[in-house]
Symmetry: C2
Subunit: 150 residues, 2 copies
């Protein structure tokens, strides 16, 4: 990419790198409201022994706690990897306006792969979706992480 | 039904009734391992201002904290309502063996409706699924709850 990445995606990538340093699968997520950074989080599955502690879930819960609004209308989510079904469901429940994600996840993704959650007729909230921002950085980090574990 | 409901589903229904008493959508969930009750939880969306605090998520997180095993292999989940995509995704992540659910949820369910998560080719863990246990009690509770709010 010839232009700099938007700040929230740079922060999400930094959070992913930080996770890798702690031995966590490198995924980072950021919640913004307008120009405000509301929450920055990364994978904590290993740290707390909870396979549901994905970066998106952590960022959403942190943003709800910070804003105290009970929902995240007017907020955007920036995440380095395509969200899974659990996270896509959570994104719809809290009514995130826009999702920006980096790398595609053909195996576990549920936005453009598998259940394609937001295209289901029963989906009650459809955010705008932007894919590929920071994709190469995010994918390289994941590839290096799993290569080192083989 | 002419035979008594299994204890875990009776506990899940009681947790749902308890939630209704606190003004929460009445859904309850229980995690068992063999004959052991590991966790009992209900909807806390309103209590903590978090639309992701579904009974299943709460029960799963409580069970992980109690067992400290990092996953829930060998455990079953009993829930009064068909899980949504978020909860179905979480169930797969923690590798629950069996799901027993009560009422069907044609609008928000993701097991037998919408994304039919566990039938997707990308789904990495498929529990055994038993539907309809305690269905009439669970559905009546939900119906009464929403009728009172109209």
């Amino acid at each position: 990419m010839s232009f700099p990445l938007p700040e929230p995606m740079r922060l999400a990538l930094a959070a992913a790198a930080d996770a890798a340093g702690r031995g966590e699968v490198p995924v980072g997520a950021v919640v913004t409201r307008g120009a405000e950074i509301v929450a920055v989080a990364s994978n904590r599955m290993r740290a707390i022994g909870d396979p549901t502690a994905h970066a998106e879930m952590e960022a959403i819960r942190a943003a709800l706690a910070t804003l105290g609004t009970g929902r995240l209308d007017g907020c955007d989510l920036w995440v380095t990897l395509e969200p899974c079904a659990m996270c896509a469901g959570a994104i719809a429940h809290v009514r995130i306006d826009r999702i920006y994600y980096g790398a595609a996840d053909a195996k576990g993704g549920a936005v453009a792969h598998g259940p394609c959650f937001f295209t289901q007729p029963t989906c009650h909230h459809r955010p705008e979706i932007y894919a590929g921002l920071g994709e190469s950085e995010a994918a390289a980090m994941l590839k290096a992480f799993f290569a080192a574990r083989r």
